[in-house]
Point group: C2
Chain length 481, copies 2
């Protein structure tokens, strides 16, 4: 069976809803843009991805410390970090229907014109350098685009937009008392700031030497205007992030080291095929306000290459900002050299929801004529890496009668404390195999008449579809590891 | 050594900061009320508590489904559930300095007067029943209290307050586009609504029979006016919650069943001593808007008895509300009886942060004259249940020299893939034992000269302080289970 390439996310999204991997939030009320709820199977996979990451990058490393900071972040932290100022997207608004669109996304789809990109890039550059000419030029280009009626509103089809303006993408709320009287706070736009504000606490409690890291898995929030592609562009996302503190000058070599480790996690840890990954280096002009260098690993999603992980060299930008703003000394004292300095930070990040989506896309396979190529019904299989499958083993009595169901239940109860097992007795056994294939269960155990005689069961391999007979004892031993 | 009772949380809070269990959020900037960041040790303990709960109530149960819903919740969901209307606290405001206080908490501390409680209870009752007389009476009582100058502002010491008014405790924000133009959303005040809005998805994907449950661990947010007692009353908290759906009429027996299971988790799972727990039954008049009956398990915190878990009989209130508001049929069809009805819901909940705090309080012990009672320095031990300890085993070379450190590092590397291990070579070994005792590490492994001779190490038990010699092979085997 050859690899087919998915041409759209639809089959994944349908499977996700039908079998319980994930659902659109508040679907009962028509759904909420860019918000998703993980169902039982998606959550189990997510937990497996997170635990694997934690084992690789925290438990098995002596120099990495775990952290879980609050989501609600007082404004002062994000003022210091530059997010209230620079965590923005360029939006245009239709003057007729008032819909707001991301000018960069919209124009990418709508026209070949690159004026607007120049406009945005120059505008960003200008904000940094204080030059006004770039803005004027870009503005002129924008006017021209509009006059030539090259921009049509996708909602009402009129042709008049505002100029792009920068809007902050953070969710704002207030701490304490009553609306209007409390202190401003934001839902964190990245988990990183919770790490930087605790850097000193980690120094004081653990006295690490350089290099050391602080790792965190948690939710971040971005008020994206253009959501879409299922779990890909969302407003609430889980990230696994590492801030790795090094001596200045060692940052570039450390950058290379983590690039390698991250790639190894994607390929060996998550089982993503190398040909579905590519490296993307951000051009200098488009770097985030804190970054000296950023690379992504992109995955070949059905809708195109999309960012799966990002890695930035944040230099000492964040620590310096927090040191200035808080007035606290955040320098690191290196005993060996008696030197005092601000460490540089290398930050590799993985989007957990995107990792789930990538693993699902990479494992999904349709067999139009069944697994044997001879049938008339399409069969679907998730060829998931075994250790990421949400159900590890299914226990299936051949029939309900003659004590087979009871024996199967006993075996199920024996396995349940050791793994994630399900029991299924409904319908023909072939149909039950297909149900398990569809959610990626690596092994199906069938209890048949021979089981009652000699205490053996069949174990079916999802991928090879081979069946072998083993004793119940061997089975239990196999899954208790 | 007799049990001492902690008279304050201070020793726990100090230990937490000094050794890295948890920190006040944004401490660098003076801290944020009611927000905490978990450090490496507190996070590891929290993860162990969560994973244990998940194993007990999800993995080892065939009828319970896991879920992880979004934190951002569109307003419509919380309008339907009654939270925008009823999730309120009574606040009074000082007319001089404008500080706002929870009238019930404030008055509980400040005076013996019970007028104001009557005021509040009657006011709540009145909102339900539409009676006005209760409010009038309570209002009169309030005026009288003020005239007698029984209420003094703790901030500015003037004596004039507004009447108590109900303020909503949810954090509000906006989805999409720009401030003022987006759709209202809230940070969920409980994880439960994400379960109710996915109930139909679970029915469609898994076809469960009654009774069945949906479980979730995640953060909830409450804009508490009076925060305090460390992790106890916070604005951002993690909850482990189960919504258990039963046939109406079976709710009361199921209520008893879950009360027992929950108690078993607290005592056998978390190792909390029965004498530190008591059951508290909410009086009918003070039940939440959705509840027919609520009980708590309270823990003997140093500041007094405090809620650790809650369990409510939510009846069919939530499903009924969502069915009405969404216009979607949420009834359950029971095949056996051919009946169609809305299930009742029993909801046991555990506060994860409070569980962490309770386990720490229950395990903390000071030995003023050292462990042997003969010393002059105080020693502190966390007698944590072994399976909850953040560090499972510490590897300590007796000295750094003569190859002991190298041998210890080898052993450390052998254990690290199987458990949470630390390596420590700094200072006298007795001091290192004390450092591990203070964070509750159950076992310390010492590598000494005999190790180099015969391949055995000593393993020291935190509680008994006994040391036994075992081979490195036996050690590795013990921790790889």
């Amino acid at each position: 069976m050859e690899d087919q390439k998915l041409s759209s996310l639809d089959p994944i999204v349908n499977l996700a809803k039908r079998r319980g991997f994930f659902f659109n939030t508040a679907e009962l009320y028509g759904g909420a843009n860019g918000l998703f709820d993980l169902g039982p199977l998606g959550l189990e996979m997510t937990n497996r991805i997170k635990q694997l990451w934690w084992r690789w990058f925290v438990h098995e490393r002596s120099e990495v410390y775990g952290l879980d900071a609050a989501i609600l972040t007082p404004a002062v932290v994000l003022e210091a970090s530059g997010h209230t100022e620079s965590f923005t997207d360029p939006l245009i608004e239709c003057l007729n229907c008032h819909i707001r669109l991301r000018s960069d996304h919209y124009l990418e789809e709508e026209s070949e014109e690159i004026f607007i990109f120049r406009w945005r890039d120059e505008a960003i550059k200008q904000r940094k350098l204080g030059e006004s000419r770039a803005t004027e030029e870009a503005h002129a280009a924008w006017i021209k685009l509009q006059e030539e009626k090259l921009l049509t509103c996708p909602n009402c089809e009129t042709v008049h937009f505002t100029e792009p303006r920068q809007f902050n993408m953070m969710f704002k709320t207030q701490l304490g008392a009553v609306e209007g009287a409390g202190a401003d706070a934001y839902l964190r736009p990245e988990t990183a700031q919770g790490i930087f504000t605790n850097y000193k606490n980690i120094l004081d409690a653990f006295h690490p030497k350089l290099p050391f890291g602080i790792a965190q898995i948690g939710k971040s929030f971005r008020n994206e205007i253009t959501t879409g592609n299922s779990l890909y562009r969302v407003r609430e996302m889980e990230q696994a992030e590492l801030e790795y503190f090094v001596k200045p000058g060692e940052d570039e070599a450390t950058f290379e080291y983590w690039k390698g480790e991250w790639y190894r996690f994607l390929t060996e840890g998550l089982g993503i095929k190398p040909e579905q990954l590519r490296e993307y280096e951000h051009v200098k002009e488009k770097l985030s306000h804190y970054s000296k260098r950023t690379i992504d690993f992109e995955f070949a999603f059905p809708f195109g290459w999309g960012e799966l992980t990002g890695q930035a060299n944040r230099t000492d930008y964040d620590l310096k900002q927090h040191m200035e703003r808080s007035g606290r000394d955040l320098t690191f004292f290196e005993e060996a050299t008696r030197e005092r300095f601000l460490p540089y930070v290398i930050e590799p990040t993985l989007g957990i929801g995107r990792a789930l989506l990538a693993v699902l896309c990479g494992s999904y396979k349709e067999y139009p004529n069944g697994r044997d190529g001879q049938g008339t019904e399409m069969e679907t299989v998730l060829h998931l890496p075994h250790h990421l499958a949400p159900v590890q083993v299914a226990i299936l009595p051949l029939m309900k009668k003659d004590g087979l169901a009871e024996r199967a239940q006993e075996i199920f109860k024996q396995l349940q404390p050791h793994t994630v097992a399900v029991y299924d007795e409904t319908g023909a056994v072939g149909k039950r195999y297909r149900r398990q294939d569809e959610i990626g269960t690596p092994w199906c155990i069938t209890i048949d008449y021979q089981t009652l005689d000699d205490g053996t069961v069949t174990i079916r391999d999802r991928d090879a579809m081979t069946q072998e007979r083993i004793s119940v004892e061997a089975l239990v031993q196999r899954f208790s590891k």
